[in-house]
């Protein structure tokens, strides 16, 4: 069945073919519909599971100085840098992302995602969870009212092989928590700088100074000393039984050569490390690739400092953009060369775009009415621009999408039904994403 969608994300014909289910309780109709969609989606459930690397640029990067320059706009608006041609004729990016322009055949830029929350706290929450905050929240706020996408992926996939399914480097994002899904779906945090010589990932590898042989003897000793009787009858609901399961997996993880190698970035070919850039961010992108390779479902690379209210020209000329441009283009190229791009979703965004008019201090302020989001892998076409902003870059104007649509698309790519209902701690049913419509250009 060809995917022919209307504004609601699926065709009327689909309804007729699927409309056999009675509407008992909540959302069976939607569920069937989404399941059917997901089954048809390249890279979704049924094939190799899709993992996701999210590069989060906290503060809100400028769309003008990256993927949506407005060279023909008046000087107080247009990007402060010259534009560069991309691999796709007619599409231009801004100079700070020259290397990304060179690999534009590997990703899509969505220029038309927008929302209405100009505060960092609220914008973060909206983009990270697909749900707006129910009350206004301040700019400095770290808030969660709804599970983040990473936590939901953890909830939906669970743990296998002892590897935490959701990881974040070097810290959690503001709204990256699990909310009502429970603390076990918080991200596993990998702090520290992976560019450092003796960098080690914590907790998933043996502690410093403990040899593998000693782990084996500890494991044996633990088995001998941990004699508390387990309630093996399921009806007993003995939490120690699940605890044991995690220990088994944990021991497997530290004795798995493949997993241990993945966590050890020093085992990477030095040339590859160079390609990503020998700095902590570049190496985090590389480590992210190694993590998804070994089966981590969701890796967030959290990068702060993108709130350029002043001197945006200087900032975007500096190291941050060089690091970003080099690291992300290397990541996309590397994933593609390794044949991993089909099963790895890469998204890069912040909480909003920046004001079109450059302010008195040479900076740009918060602007949720337009932003550019990089999306790649998992069947997303390369070299594609989705949507557009108006001539001066003020407002998303064509094929406008909301954060709900963004989240629904990511969930669908990951094989998770975005319309499913979850229960909050208070027992209230909530929809994972409220009326999210797929960004259809990502599903061709």
């Amino acid at each position: 069945m060809a995917i022919h969608t209307n504004c609601d994300g699926s065709s009327r014909r689909d309804f007729l073919q699927l409309g056999l289910g009675g509407l008992v309780g909540f959302g069976l109709c939607d569920l069937l519909r989404l399941k059917a969609m997901a089954a048809e989606t390249p890279g979704a459930a049924g094939k190799k599971p899709v993992n996701c690397i999210m590069i989060w640029l906290d503060g809100g990067p400028s769309h003008f100085e990256t993927f949506d320059p407005k060279p023909d706009a008046p000087s107080e608006i247009r990007g402060v840098f010259p534009t560069v041609a991309t691999k796709v004729p007619g599409v231009h990016f801004s100079e700070p992302v020259t290397k990304l322009a060179g690999v534009f055949d590997k990703f899509t830029v969505v220029r038309s995602i927008c929302h209405r929350d100009p505060n960092h706290g609220g914008g973060n929450h909206y983009m990270m969870t697909g749900t707006p905050t129910p009350v206004p929240v301040g700019c400095g706020a770290f808030v969660t009212f709804h599970p983040s996408m990473g936590s939901m992926v953890s909830h939906s996939r669970g743990v296998s092989g002892g590897i935490p399914p959701y990881m974040a480097m070097p810290s959690n994002t503001r709204s990256g928590g699990p909310n009502f899904l429970g603390g076990q779906h918080s991200p596993f945090i990998i702090p520290g700088g992976p560019n450092a010589e003796h960098f080690r990932v914590n907790d998933v590898v043996l502690p410093a100074g403990i040899a593998e042989g000693r782990v084996k003897s500890r494991r044996g000793l633990r088995a001998a000393l941990d004699r508390m009787k387990r309630g093996t009858d399921k009806r007993m609901e003995d939490p120690a039984v699940e605890f044991d399961r995690f220990y088994e997996q944990g021991f497997d993880l530290v004795s798995s050569a493949r997993a241990q190698e993945a966590f050890d970035i020093s085992r990477e070919d030095p040339k590859v490390r160079e390609r990503y850039g020998r700095n902590d961010m570049g190496q985090r992108f590389l480590l992210a690739r190694r993590l998804v390779e070994v089966g981590v479902s969701w890796v967030t690379v959290n990068w702060g400092g993108w709130d350029h209210h002043e001197n945006i020209a200087t900032a975007y000329k500096g190291d941050a953009l060089k690091t970003l441009d080099q690291g992300v283009s290397a990541l996309l190229t590397d994933l593609s060369e390794r044949g991993l791009l089909d099963s790895t979703l890469v998204v890069m965004l912040g909480e909003f775009g920046r004001t079109p008019k450059i302010n008195e201090k040479g900076g740009r302020d918060h602007w949720p009415n337009a932003m550019s989001v990089l999306m790649a892998g998992a069947g997303i076409p390369g070299g594609q621009i989705v949507g557009a902003t108006d001539v001066k870059g003020y407002y998303a104007s064509d094929n406008v999408y909301r954060p709900e649509d963004f989240a629904a698309s990511i969930y669908t790519k990951m094989g998770i039904d975005p319309r499913q209902h979850l229960e909050t701690t208070a027992g209230r049913p909530v929809q994972l994403v409220n009326d999210g419509r797929l960004i259809r250009e990502l599903f061709v």
């Binding site: 009675g22 109709c29 505060n119 301040g138 700019c139 400095g140 706020a141 918080s186 000393l225 609901e237």
Partner: protein, 843 residues
């Protein structure tokens, strides 16, 4: 697809007595148990036959459900309504018909005698049929219930924010006027077709005569269909003048004891303000609170499973809730003497043993002294006993030593930090939202409350009446965080009344009686509270605000727009003086000993700390459909808390001293499946702060927390922003997450990995500081069994058993001079103990 209503109705005109046999339902699952069903059918085992409900009347044209019940010689009542051997006759076929098993239909005004026979048993009841009302079918009284039962206004269907394919209803019909407009005027009126009602799109869709994504909701010719057709053809009446409202629903049987595998039909009657009664069985929704005990079908048929216990089946009709209690006793009751021989320390035991006896459960063996001390220390203080405390307690031969230990625990200062932390989980706002200082002050205020053991009603009153500056008075910051009356309403009702009203903010509570009206009347208490100062929009919201009560400020109902007068749920309208603080009246109502919510909610919270779950569980979810596992105990505990003037320590003492608290965790042959009645101690994981402190205490290597004074413990921490990987791994609450949340104590992979591999634990084991336990034991020359014993006492609060001692001492090098080998043995043994379930769980 199962049709909702039509299943009960045969095609019209096929009424032959006994008419239902052709339509007899398939036997319910569980009814396959031959011992049960056969017993029910045998006339020999029956003492008498009864028709329920005791009074039967209906309007002509309407259906009426009834039950035929056989009272057995064994004392059980069995539903034989569907039994093929029963014959049903009516004395006057012109007055009413027997339409199906257990369903009559009135034909014309009059009285007829209903007679049921099973073998030699017989029962009779006169049935009154009244003339049909002259008023037309009404949208409010007749149509809304049909739409509700058919699920049209469910949140996932036409009650989604944008409706479904352009047709939008309000969730659970919270706004009936809008629903009326949607149906009658929406889509330019094409949903209804008054000149030919049967051709209305509304009916064609609902019967799936034309394609309908939601499938067929009811059948052509069903009562639902007839109601809608009559309404459309009868002039689309909104509501009749002086139309009586529903005042109550009656569910039959109200309570019944069942054998395992039994089945029972329910009958639901609605009573209206004018005294009239209607059968609304086919229009009610049903739900079971414990599906392991009993399930209920959409038509209201209960199927009892194979476990003994209690369940509540809730029936709902137009926002009114009723229930039918299901009791399934054990098949083989244990000898009475065994229960009478159980020791009793106070009323908790009396009521608990009584309950267990009813359910055929027998309590586990008492816990050991070591288990008692460890459990009581963890539950009362969040601390493990030190090796010295454990040693002394185990050696003590005083028969009263447990009671004495309880007094020592209750006098310990750590009590305050544990309870402040528990309440901070629920009250602590996000420092990024309200600023750091206010959060810190609230934390300090809570610690003070529990240090002084301030009565629980008092500190709740202080929170309810908080005013003033958020940089001066801790509780004021709660109002800075929850800025709008509805937010406070949701939070306070859940925390202090144990009632989750959140749903009623937007629509009638789907499972309970709470309406939007109830919600906003409660919210109105907070309307005159105002802030003065910086608001929360500053970059990091670091400013302060002053909260004060002024005469201004009122709250409007979001749908009707009416100004709400403060009135507590199920309480009287509050008398508030002009310009006065209505919260005063709220506090007076809430904290009055006669208040039906507060004492129970508080006693239940306290109980849950000691038993790992509440008598009502979740602790903040009291409702008809979530009854206490032991109602008598819940009531007695609440009454005792009131009598103790809400002295938290005094109630804790009573709980700690009970024999119930002092049960072991190993199950016996009766109570393996019991996870609600406390017949054994339920294992629960140590909370994050407790775990972090325990690791530091056992290794004797304190953790330094950034930004906190030297010597601070995890239980002193006042914000999740204080860096601690251990607390993060073990799920400390994150106050940036919005909800007054209970702790999640689920095990997670990160916890196992953290204990196994983290540098935090390994660093403490490897510490060369002189006070560190491993360093001291490794560097000293105590014989290995002594070392192992100390490690066991520190981690488990007990002595090692002979086998354990042998296994652990075998690790030590034979040569006492092999220092590295001795150190590794000590490290590895302690690592193993700290990675074991016996350490991680409180048991």
């Amino acid at each position: 697809m199962k049709f909702l209503i039509s299943a009960l109705l045969p095609a019209i005109g096929l009424v032959v007595f006994p008419a239902w046999q052709a339509h007899a339902e398939e036997p319910a699952p569980g009814a396959g148990n031959p011992a049960v069903t056969a017993a029910a059918a045998k006339a020999d085992d029956i003492a008498s036959l009864v028709i329920e409900p005791p009074v039967l009347s209906m309007e002509a044209g309407r259906p009426l459900s009834f039950l035929i019940t056989a009272r057995g010689l064994d004392g059980f009542e069995t539903d034989v309504t569907d039994n093929a051997a029963v014959t049903v006759t009516v004395s006057d076929a012109a007055t009413l018909d027997v339409e199906a098993a257990g369903v009559l239909r009135g034909k014309s005004a009059g009285t007829a005698l209903l007679t049921v026979r099973l073998g030699s048993h017989q029962a009779e009841l006169p049935v009154t049929v009244t003339a049909p009302p002259e008023t037309p079918v009404s949208f409010v009284r007749d149509v809304l219930p049909v739409l509700g039962k058919a699920g049209c206004n469910a949140g996932a269907c036409h009650a989604k924010a944008d409706g479904q394919n352009g047709f939008r209803l309000t969730v659970f019909s919270f706004d009936p006027e809008s629903d009326y407009r949607s149906i009658v005027q929406g889509a330019r009126g094409r949903r209804i077709f008054p000149s030919d009602p049967e051709e209305s799109l509304l009916l064609l869709k609902a019967t799936q005569t034309v394609p309908h994504e939601g499938g067929a909701r009811f059948e052509r010719g069903s009562d639902a269909w007839r109601t809608l057709t009559a309404w459309i053809g009868g002039g689309l009446t909104w509501r009749n003048r002086e139309e009586p409202a529903v005042t109550a629903i009656l569910v039959f049987p109200q309570q019944r004891r069942y054998k395992k595998g039994a089945a029972q039909r329910l009958v639901v009657h609605a009573r209206y303000a004018d005294g009239s009664v209607r059968d609304v069985t086919a229009l009610s929704r049903f739900d079971s609170n414990d599906k392991q005990i009993a399930t209920v079908s959409e038509e209201g048929k209960i199927t009892v499973d194979q476990l003994s216990g209690q369940a509540v089946i809730v029936a709902r009709f137009m926002g009114i809730v009723g229930d039918s209690k299901v009791v399934v006793p054990a098949d083989r009751p244990l000898p009475e003497e065994r229960y009478q021989a159980l020791p009793v320390s106070n009323f908790i035991d009396t009521l608990a043993w009584d309950r267990l006896r009813q359910l055929g459960l027998f309590p586990s063996e008492p816990c050991t002294d070591a288990e008692f001390l460890r459990r009581a220390s963890l539950d009362t203080l969040g601390l493990l006993p030190t090796p010295e405390e454990a040693r002394a307690f185990l050696a003590d031969t005083d028969p009263d030593k447990r009671a004495k230990a309880i007094e020592r625990l209750l006098a310990h200062p750590a009590w305050a930090d544990l309870w402040a932390t528990k309440w901070a989980d629920l009250l602590r706002p996000n420092p990024d939202r309200v600023g750091v200082k206010g959060v810190y002050l609230l934390d300090q205020w809570l610690r003070g409350v529990f240090r002084e053991n301030r009565p629980w009603d008092q500190f709740v009153r202080e929170i309810l009446l908080a005013q003033g500056n958020t940089h001066r008075f801790g509780p004021a910051v709660i109002y800075r965080d929850r800025r709008e009356p509805p937010e406070l309403t949701t939070m306070f009702s859940q925390l202090f009344l144990g009632t989750r009203l959140e749903c009623a903010k937007c629509h009638h509570h789907p499972n309970e009686k709470w309406s939007q009206e109830d919600f906003y009347k409660l919210a109105a208490f907070f309307a005159p509270l105002h802030p003065k100062g910086g608001g929360i929009s500053t970059p990091i919201s670091g400013g302060n605000e002053t909260f004060f009560v002024s005469g201004g400020g009122s709250l409007k109902h979001p749908v009707t727009g009416g100004v709400m007068k403060p009135q507590p749920p199920d309480g009287p309208e509050a008398a508030v003086k002009e310009g006065g603080d209505p919260r005063q009246a709220l506090a007076d109502w809430m904290l009055d000993p006669a208040n039906p919510f507060f004492a129970k909610a508080m006693a239940n919270r306290l109980w849950a700390q000691f038993f790992g779950k509440g008598i009502v569980d979740p602790v903040d979810d009291f409702r008809l459909s979530n009854p206490p596992s032991n109602p008598a105990l819940m009531d007695a505990l609440a009454a005792e808390f009131i009598r103790l003037k809400y002295d938290g320590k005094a109630l804790a003492r009573l709980i700690l001293r009970s024999r119930l608290y002092q049960l072991g965790s190993a199950p016996n042959e009766t109570n393996t499946a019991d996870t609600r009645n406390f017949s054994r101690s339920y294992r629960r994981r140590m909370a994050a702060e407790v775990m972090a402190d325990a690791v530091a205490d056992i290794t004797q290597v304190p953790t330094k927390y950034p930004g906190m004074p030297v010597g601070s413990r995890a239980m002193n921490s006042w914000t999740y922003k204080i860096d601690s990987r251990t607390m993060d791994a073990f799920g400390r609450p994150n106050s940036s997450s919005d909800c007054p949340c209970e702790r999640n104590l689920a095990p997670a992979i990160g916890q196992a990995l953290h204990l196994m591999n983290s540098d935090v634990l390994q660093g403490k084991l490897a510490s060369a500081e002189s006070q560190a336990r491993v360093q001291r034991l490794a560097a000293g020359n105590a014989p290995p069994p002594e070392v192992v014993t100390e490690l066991y006492l520190a981690s488990y609060g007990r002595f090692p058993e002979a086998e354990e001692l042998a296994a652990a001492t075998a690790l030590f090098p034979a040569d006492p001079a092999a220092a590295a080998g001795r150190r590794q043995a000590v490290e590895d043994i302690l690592w193993s103990l700290l990675n074991s379930a016996e350490f991680v769980f409180n048991h």
